[in-house]
Symmetry: C2
Subunit: 452 residues, 2 copies
């Protein structure tokens, strides 16, 4: 077995910003902008409120911004809190090529917090973020198993990405970086049963914090195994027995995983996007009245029926894991933004009536970004729509302008318009920022005191 | 599948201190005294120094005592730091009946910190601690697999115990306690490759902190799965596929796991104690000169050669995972306290020469507390010693007086003698303490500033 952990550490340590091609830097900038908008949008969510109520009494000095919450907290608490906020809508990003993880979720909070605390250059934060995504996605590619999905791979592999990103900003040497990855490995956690409850976004925030802590510990000479990923009882064998970790370090630097990340157009798991897109397009194309629908047959990749099969979601959060519910939303609302995934919508009589008419058929021949919907009306007429590549995929990505629009809609009612504009502008010019801390401070927001 | 998680939560919530028989309370008191001594003994270890150097800049208000370090920190950081200190010598406790976990390691730091912060009654802290051990050990019994040891069960199951103990002190209701266990489940982590490096004790401290955070979150209504342990992709199935979680809730309250916990006589894993005891007894019984030993054949339970087989340990920490090294220590020093597990001893020429003569033979017919040593001298003479039940086992436990002696030896040079005496006295009278915070404050210690 080659030295996986150390090789990965060496790659991160030896990487220079100038090594990154322009299209990689642009993809990283888009990913950061997209994630940052989500952190603003989720900042007032009940999940965030409760986490803050539980933790604030034990937090340290005000070192970093609690995005859009009008407050500051210590570095570690900040990484966790902003990480919860950014993933709580499940509206962030995706990595459809090999896994369906949300790459930024458990990585970005670490360089965000550390970059602000250290007043790093924007280019260094962007660089660390891109490398963190690289480490995370390479490990995820090796241990992600669709047929036996037990782990929440965002957090189980995101912790490595956060450690790598934080370690890069801290300037760790190869030995320290190896330990940072090892300390990340032994903190790796997150179960898939967190889907549909507050633990899902918590896992992301906490993984980012755990990775950040791993890098801080390694900086002080805190040791771990030097072969934490590839050892016989190391991370890869434990998380996916029989897996081969060698590809983790193959062709390092030849291409970058961030270029395969997508920004989500809908506020739920990527796994559902083709189905939603099919329903929205069917509605737009055929103009039927959803009240007279008799039956809806959705043909989808088998993973859809495997992990999003909640038949009767009771809450907005649960409704993000129901292919039946999102099909109904697409047909009724022609949209699937955060507004659609409310508790109110989950309990709406029209939505419930329609989602009970939705059937989901696993189609092994389909790609994940493919879907087909057949809508049968009570009068016997039927409409079909086929989606070859869902909106927001690599083949059909959101434009930069659409990304900005998504950011603005997430920030609406939370930041003032001029603050949103300024934050977007700083994100696009991340590479040129002398002091990264301007960006989080621009999006600090103001907030009434709230109590849970 | 019965409701495991909720049933366990209900048991903890409904338990009354008066339900606990006197021998259970005494066993709990012994376990706490033993663990607390270890927290004092490990307080100045390099592992603790480095962890503190990494974390102190981000810690909150001085809410709880950093045991024997002359300082205070916030509740969460305190739980982690004291947890690292108490396990760093691997001298704490054991649970030889079903698993070889150290039950107090990832549990005790949570009620210690919260009991001090809340100024709880001593009886409530003892009660919470005993219930935490109960939850942890019952889960460990269900998922501990000796034949495929991948996880560090101290931390993977200790996080549940810490959550239960903290939740009990916080007065969580059944629903909140169920969530606390669920939030613990999704944070459960710790790999066995942490053995022999600083991550082993870190896993224990961090698991205690994670469990404490889980309870604090649940108190604020932070949700998780209600079936985190028993769900198809829940904790039990993920951590040991095919395991049966039903026994976790069988005969709850009929007996208590703490009565099966042992206090360690030697500063390394319980797994090695019979081998050490055999070597010490052989030395005492036969009075040979170790310089003229030709060969040592140790017959041991197969797990010994499986998990403590480092042939040439380079550091004191590594030497705790070498059956060859501890055999040599027993024969040369007649002891295996923390002093024996130094870097200096690991590199000592006499120890190295002797440990190279030690052979370890797995003996499937042996219990874990059984060992046999045959010492062959260069003149052809040979001596044999058989240990039926090693010192420190349930059949051959340390007396209360021996426990006090262990505490004093751990505290020597760290606390003043009168402070040790006072702490021991408060531990024995834990049940009667009106304000538990007196105990950690008594062992607060003083310390010069150190820098790593």
């Amino acid at each position: 077995m080659p030295e996986i952990t150390r090789t990965l550490a060496r790659f991160v340590v030896d990487s220079h910003f100038i090594d990154l091609p322009a299209h990689v830097r642009h993809a990283g900038t888009r990913a950061f902008l997209n994630w940052f908008g989500c952190a603003i949008g989720g900042s007032r969510h009940e999940t965030v409120e409760r986490a803050w109520a539980a933790r604030s009494g034990f937090a340290g000095e005000p070192q970093v911004t609690l995005i859009a919450r009008g407050g500051r907290t210590d570095l570690l608490t900040g990484a966790c809190m902003n990480g919860i906020a950014a993933h709580v809508f499940d509206f962030d990003d995706g990595q459809p090529r090999n896994t369906n993880i949300n790459p930024s979720a458990a990585v970005a909070p670490a360089p965000l917090a550390l970059g602000e605390h250290l007043k790093s250059r924007g280019a260094d934060v962007l660089h660390a973020f891109i490398l963190g995504l690289e480490v995370e996605c390479r490990i995820a590619n090796a241990v992600y198993a669709t047929d036996n999905a037990r782990w929440f791979t965002n957090s189980t592999t995101g912790v490595f990405g956060a450690a790598a990103a934080a370690g890069k900003l801290l300037g760790l040497d190869e030995r320290q970086m190896t330990w940072a990855l090892g300390i990340a490995a032994t903190q790796s956690s997150g179960l898939r049963i967190s889907f549909g409850n507050m633990c899902k976004s918590f896992n992301c925030g906490r993984a980012a914090e755990n990775g950040l802590l791993a890098a801080l510990l390694a900086q002080r000479g805190f040791t771990s195994s030097d072969r934490a990923i590839e050892a016989p009882r190391g991370f890869a064998q434990v998380f996916l027995p029989g897996s081969d970790p060698s590809p983790i370090v193959e062709r390092l630097g030849a291409e970058y995983e961030v270029t395969y990340a997508i920004c989500k157009p809908f506020a739920c798991g990527v796994v559902l996007h083709a189905a939603i897109d099919a329903c929205i397009r069917a509605r737009e194309t055929h103009g039927f009245d959803p009240r007279w629908i008799e039956k809806v047959v959705l043909r989808v990749h088998p993973i859809v029926t495997q992990i999003t099969a909640i038949r009767e979601p009771a809450t907005g959060l649960e409704s993000k894991f129901s292919v039946f519910h999102v099909g109904a939303l697409g047909l009724l609302d022609g949209a699937a933004g955060e507004a659609q995934f409310s508790d109110r919508r989950a309990a709406d009589a029209d939505v419930i009536a329609l989602r009970r008419k939705v059937e989901a058929v696993p189609e092994p021949a389909f790609r994940r970004d493919q879907a087909h919907v057949r809508v049968v009306m009570q009068d016997g007429s039927a409409f079909e729509t086929h989606v070859e590549h869902a909106i927001g995929t690599l083949q059909n990505p959101l434009t930069d302008a659409a990304l900005e629009a998504k950011f603005r809609s997430l920030a609406a009612g939370i930041l003032e318009e001029r603050e949103s504009d300024a934050a977007i502008d700083l994100c696009w010019h991340l590479e040129a920022l002398d002091d990264f801390s301007h960006l989080p401070r621009t999006a600090a927001g103001r907030m009434e005191e709230t109590h849970v």
